[in-house]
């Protein structure tokens, strides 16, 4: 078959199956005996646009609901930002065009089947699922739209996905642009099955450390629910629009937004105000953390009077936060990566994340194969740290239990 030929490519995609595409991942899982320990993926995705009609049905505002039916949710869910850039890489990443053709049984929900398929192939027992285009929703000029869509999505996710499969969890979308709505969101959904925290989309231009936000953080701290910051990019950002290639906007965008939020979070002393509120920084890789620690500590020693809320170095607060591993910078400098692990206390603060199905996804082997970690550290990063943080039941998947049983025979 020549899948470079357009007709053959379409034919190949019509038979696309996640399990076949991830056969090598399943071989890795067997070779490394992932059935012997828990693996938790704290950042994975689905394409909520595929179920947009179901989400739109749950929008409370009747006019917006009607408008969305005709907009098919696309303009709304993309925050009016237009094209997302070249995520498909010119057809190089076949799961992008193939996904929509994948055949699934009528039940359970398509998203559950697809999620289970890649989880089992990668050896993941529990996955935290996030949306994809909605990560840009905070850029929408109408706050009302963000609030309405966030609520509809959260309701749909809780009822349709999380309630139906205990292996799939989520930190729900927190519409922080409207702190009153955000508080209502925590109160309404915070105790639903499968909800393990809340997520702020980092791609935003408003401060999240104003007085109006403090009730939100107090509510999360009181309930013991972690708050995550999931980064993203916007090629239309005034700074990033100077990127002449998408690779630049993408590589810089993810750390930049989290660096900005981290700066405000630490310098405004939020960790001092809410010392029991756990925070997780997602999808910015890891190299930005040591960079920021060094920059902040250096300036803090000269300007500590400007930030009197701080009782310790900025890096001391950052070392107590949690970080999702993907996309881990691991191409050609293991020494730098090892130092990064030391600087962030990776053995207790790092949480494995795949970001599947996106093009820069990381398999569990990215952690498991690191030569400078012992087996305890590997297992901590791959699952135990997340299990403790989210108080998860350490339940291995059925696929892993079956594999264990077959080995025992």
């Amino acid at each position: 078959m020549n899948i470079n030929n357009p007709a053959s490519f379409d034919e190949a995609m019509s038979h696309f199956d996640t399990r076949a595409m991830l056969e090598n991942a399943e071989e890795q899982a067997r070779a490394r005996h992932y059935e012997d320990f828990l693996i938790v993926d704290v950042d994975s995705h689905h394409y909520e646009g595929e179920a947009m009609n179901e989400i739109i049905d749950r929008i409370e505002d009747p006019v917006l609901r009607e408008n969305s039916r005709f907009a098919k949710g696309l303009n709304l869910s993309s925050g009016g930002q237009g094209p997302f850039g070249n995520q498909e890489m010119g057809g190089r990443i076949t799961r992008y065009p193939g996904r929509k053709h994948e055949k699934v049984p009528p039940k359970p929900h398509r998203d559950i089947t697809l999620t289970r398929r890649w989880m089992d192939a990668l050896g993941i027992d529990i996955a935290c699922l996030f949306p994809t285009p909605m990560l840009g929703l905070a850029l929408h000029p109408q706050v009302h739209v963000e609030v309405q869509l966030a609520r509809a999505y959260n309701q749909w996710l809780c009822e349709t996905i999380l309630a139906e499969d205990s292996r799939i969890k989520s930190m729900l979308y927190l519409p922080l642009t409207d702190p009153v709505a955000a508080l209502r969101c925590i109160e309404e959904f915070g105790e639903r099955p499968g909800v393990i925290g809340f997520m702020v989309t980092s791609t935003r231009y408003r401060s999240i450390c104003e007085n109006v936000h403090m009730k939100v953080y107090a509510a999360l701290e009181e309930r013991g629910l972690p708050l995550s910051f999931h980064s993203g990019y916007s090629w239309h950002d005034p700074l990033l629009s100077a990127s002449t290639k998408f690779i630049t906007a993408h590589a810089l965008g993810f750390p930049i937004y989290n660096m900005m939020l981290m700066g405000n979070w630490v310098m405004d002393g939020i960790p001092e105000r809410f010392p029991k509120l756990k925070t997780i920084w997602i999808e910015s890789g890891l190299a930005w953390v040591p960079f920021l620690m060094q920059r902040f500590d250096n300036e803090y020693m000269m300007r500590s009077s400007e930030v009197p809320a701080l009782k310790r170095l900025p890096s001391d607060y950052m070392r107590e936060m949690f970080y999702a591993s993907q996309p881990m910078e691991m191409v050609n400098n293991a020494e730098a990566l090892e130092l990064t692990f030391k600087m962030i206390n990776a053995e207790s603060q790092l949480l494995y994340s795949s970001d599947y199905p996106h093009w820069d996804m990381d398999l569990p082997s990215t952690i498991y194969d690191l030569p400078f970690l012992d087996i305890q550290a590997k297992r901590a990063i791959l699952g135990e740290n997340a299990r403790k943080l989210f108080n998860l039941e350490p339940q291995l998947s059925e696929a892993k239990l079956a594999r264990k049983a077959s080995y025992a025979r």
């Binding site: 078959m1 020549n2 899948i3 470079n4 030929n5 053959s8 490519f9 595409m21 056969e23 090598n24 991942a25 071989e27 890795q28 890489m89 010119g90 057809g91 190089r92 990443i93 076949t94 799961r95 050609n332 093009w359 820069d360 996804m361 990381d362 398999l363 082997s365 990215t366």
Partner: protein, 120 residues
Amino acid sequence: MRVLVCDIDDIEEGGVHILKVEGTKIGVYRHRGAFYAYKNLCAHQGGPACEGRLMKKVVERLNPDKTYIGEDFDADDPHIVCSWHGWEYRLLTGENAVDPKIRLKRYEVTQQDNKLYVDV
């Protein structure tokens, strides 16, 4: 060990045939009448390198004064593209398109009586 792949005509120009030999998947490519065989295993995260697209190398076009014209494909240097993350390898050598020290494992291909064989 010499293993039968398929009839020569079973692989069209620019196409790939994937076979499994004792648990190892091998991709056999046809390009301008020649055949190339590589292990279906990307050096990055272990993806199925040979199950992705075969794409021509992308090159930048500049004017003599170094101003930018655009991009083009180089049909003389096709790339095997791993479908998991997009790592690219040169079909003619198996070398990674960015770092030639990284390679796909290569197998010898033999043609005999209109059939293809790989030495594993």
